[in-house]
Amino acid sequence: WDEPLIFEINRTKSRRQGILIPKEEIEEDVSIPDSVRRKEIDLPELTENEVVRHFVRLSQMNYGVDTGMMPLGSCTMKYNPKSEELAQDITGDYHPLQDVNTVQGTLEMIYETQEWLKEVTGMDECSLQVPAGSAGELAGVIMIRKYHLEKESHKDEMLVADTAHGTNPASASMVGYKVVYIKSNEEGLVDVDLLRSTASERTAGFMLTNPNTLGLFEENIGEISKVIHENGGLLYYDGANLNGILGIVRPGDMGFDIVHLNLHKTFGVPHGGGGPGAGALCAKGEMTRYLPYPIVEKAEGKFIMNKPERSIGKISSFNGNIGNVARAYVYIMGLGREGISEIARLSTLATNYLIDRLKDTKLELKSPNRPRKHEVVFSAKKIFDETGISALDIAKGLLDQGFYAPTIYFPPIVEEALMIEPTETESIETLDMFANALLKTIEDAYSNPDSLRRSPSNTAVGRLDQTKANHPSTVTPSYKVEKLRLLLKNDLILK
């Protein structure tokens, strides 16, 4: 159905309100002078019923993990256990600046989470102050910068694998580093020789995910680590792909100096339609001194907030997304040691099962004989060449069959890329259904390409006009702009 904009529901403009404000009998006037006083505001006027019904209907026009499989590569869309919501009980009503003596239980939870994350990453210390993965990356790169500055080593280059997530170069660049890409070799792995020849005294560090975004384990990680460290650089681990090795091998054991984790990927925190997530930033050895604060420590049987000696400071205003840290806490507790050690085994199994189911198709795979970890990237180039059906068309075709689409056109080194991450929480039956849906879509590419090109047709809307959406004379980012357009008779160009 079509759901009107919230501004357009109460068309008679009668006075309504969706919640009552509690009022105390207090003799105080609002004495703000006219010069700073707000005059008007155009907000909806609706009852609770109207607001609830509106957003319930919107929710029904949305697809989440609770609706079906979301095989988005590098996003780790796993099932979010409902018990995680219980965790709000020890976070929801607590103010971040409360006397620590009044929140010892909450601090204990944070402390335990830090300890557990240290254990699974093989690092020496973790800070949970970073509100998301990319904030963790930013903090990590700032740590690298600070470290080198204090060592007085002049380093202005950050090495980044060409398969890296876009956040890696973006983070490096935000801190002022020049980004130097390391091209992958034929197999889709870091070209160690190239790395060796590129690394220099200018190299501040190397940002890497392992397994990489092709789902391949960088088996030369020992050598990579050696090269970087020999050049005085630091090895940075992008934790987005940790789900492929969790319980099998630890970043700390592979030689990484700094690790960020996405608790909303690997540790089951819901993605919330794009956020909030929660991050962790872990470091080894000397690097722990630079971590963002606060870090919770135990001192004389009491939990306290601590600031590492050379801390880069804070990356968000308060303690980090603790509400979500608590969800990850429940997730880890619920899986326990027994469950955590199965995560990579089962997510890897799911990926390779899908590869097995799709092996006799026109989808192509780099290094087809290497096992994948948490994800796999197929190229639909052959299909595109033969039928004109693109990765985008395939994605839209899957929507019509009740699945969310894989990540497409990423990583950029694969043409017509379909990047699929099934996770360990999808049953074998669902994996089979997904494989069948993909097989059917490929078949359609050959037998019925026109209809596929017009897909999706079973969804709330069809393919959207992106030109209109982005053109300076039609771009519409708010209702305010809609109103202005009406008022100015459409003469509102973004310039």
Binding site: L5, I6, G18, I19, E25, V36, I41, D42, L43, P44, V52, L58, N62, Y63, G64, E85, L86, A87, G92, D93, Y94, H95, Q98, G105, E108, M109, A135, G166, T167, P169, S173, M174, L216, I221, G247, V249, H271, G272, G274, G275, I315, S317, I322, I332, M333, I340, E342, L346, L349, V461, R463, D465, K468, A469, N470, T474, T476, P477, V481, L494
Partner: protein, 442 residues
């Protein structure tokens, strides 16, 4: 073994058999010497009930306060309506991803568009992104944005800036060589324009002002600030508590370039530090819009002319532009933006104003009571919204006395100074009780 979250655990062997593989095959590329040996030092798995009992145990280690704490400092206790909690508990929303596939994500896209639109009305600015992490990170991004626009490296901030946001700003911008210059306050706590004029020159990239500032004080001459800045082609950034905009002039009316702020006070729990909700908005100006970080949802049509929503201006973003992106942000606070949208919709025009007025009244009642009955003084005398500072002889003594009664007083600014936040979540009797207890020890 079986586990409620791992469907294929018990059929692992079957599946491997169907593939003609062993588990070792799948990890043959991982160097043996790196692999974890033995058990991880983690607790054994707990059933859901045991998890709940553990959480209960932890909760009991926290002090159960009688009333919400009188703490602000940028985030404040408020009542979050059940309808807000209900909507963000709809799992089609909270288990969904960034709406890269708009056709089956219209719900979240429209909800985010509505957040942007509602916030646009509150700020009186045209373009609002669909969230940053929090006020601090929004501010940092705004300053980096100004730097991208004019390449200058000095940023003017008020001395009475919120120190928590200031620290985030420093962390993010110091690596780029950006330096912060502080402007003194007047006696009433507002920005000293003379000092500002003195410090304003062509090296200045941006001026940042807060409304209200850290002491809760309402700035009353921001027109002049914006005017001064415009003359020097300095980017103006205004940090706002959006709730205060129920009573005071919005950034759009001043014509500022960028507005930032914190959405926590509009329907988001305190969460002991987050998730919160970074607000960021810019004027209708291509230069600003194209440099704005974060995701933006726009309205468009589908192939059949049906109205729909989609992410727009994505060429600014990291996944497309990599090191040339406007920011590295990916995961943001979408669900919190929806909480804001639901809460603002519930309040509506009338409730928004009523809420602001009630908070204003209660916080002034509390302040006046402390001044009158306890003889406390304030460092700055300006009018304030929601938060105010008072001088105490001995913060710690008062704090301990209050805590003993299950009351958490204001934030310690120094041994003799406390910053209090009073909202609709603090009943009159809570205020009265606090003052009574203070009376005993002052």
């Amino acid at each position: 073994m079986t586990h409620p979250w791992l469907p294929n655990l018990s059929s692992k062997e079957d599946i491997l058999k169907r593939m003609g593989k062993t588990e070792e095959d799948l990890f043959s590329d991982v160097p043996k010497e790196l692999m974890i040996k033995g058990d991880l030092n983690l607790p054994t798995r707990r059933s859901e009930y045991e998890v709940k009992l553990r959480l209960k145990e932890l909760k009991e280690k926290n002090v159960q306060l009688k009333y919400p704490p009188f703490l602000g400092g940028g985030v404040c206790p408020h009542y979050v309506p059940e309808a807000v909690k209900f909507i963000i508990s709809r799992s089609e929303f909270y288990t969904s991803y960034t709406p890269y596939q708009p056709e089956i994500s219209q719900g979240i896209l429209q909800a985010l568009y509505e957040y942007q639109s509602l916030m646009a009305e509150i700020l009186d600015m045209e373009v609002v992104n669909s969230s940053m992490y929090d006020w601090g990170s929004s501010l940092a991004e705004a300053v980096l944005m100004a730097f991208r626009i004019n390449g200058r490296k000095k940023v003017i901030i008020p001395e009475l800036i919120n120190p928590f946001h200031e620290e985030v700003l420093r962390t993010w911008t110091e690596p780029r060589g950006i330096t912060l210059v502080k402007v003194k306050p007047n006696e009433d706590g507002s920005l000293n324009l003379d000092d500002l004029s003195r410090k304003l020159n062509e090296e200045v990239s941006a001026i940042y002002v807060e409304q209200p500032n850290f002491y809760g004080i309402i700035e009353d001459n921001l027109e002049a600030v914006v005017e001064l800045a415009r003359r020097m082609k300095v980017v103006t950034i205004m940090g706002v508590n959006p709730l205060s905009l129920s009573l005071v002039k919005p950034p759009g009316e001043y014509g500022v370039d960028i507005a930032v702020g914190e959405g926590q006070e509009l329907g988001i729990p305190l969460n002991y530090g987050g998730p919160y909700m970074g607000i960021m908005a810019v004027r209708w100006d291509a230069k600003l819009v194209r440099q704005m970080p974060g995701r933006i949802v726009g309205k468009t049509k589908d192939e059949n002319g049906k109205q729909g929503y989609t992410l727009i201006l994505q060429t600014r973003e990291q996944f497309a532009r990599r090191e040339k992106a406007t920011s590295n942000i990916t995961t943001n606070e979408s669900l919190m933006a929806i909480a804001n949208a639901v809460y603002i919709s519930l309040l509506g025009k009338n409730g928004f104003k009523e809420l602001g007025e009630e908070i204003y009244r209660r916080s002034h009642y509390a302040m006046r009571k402390m001044v009158k009955e306890l003889g406390l003084s304030r460092t700055f005398q300006g009018d304030f919204f929601e938060e105010f500072e008072v001088n105490l002889k001995n913060y710690d003594k008062v704090h301990e006395a209050l805590l003993k009664r299950g009351i958490h007083g204001g934030l310690k600014l120094s041994d003799t100074s406390s910053l209090l936040c009073v909202t609709e979540a603090h009943p009159k009797k809570a205020i009265d009780e606090m003052v009574d207890v203070m009376k005993e020890v002052i």
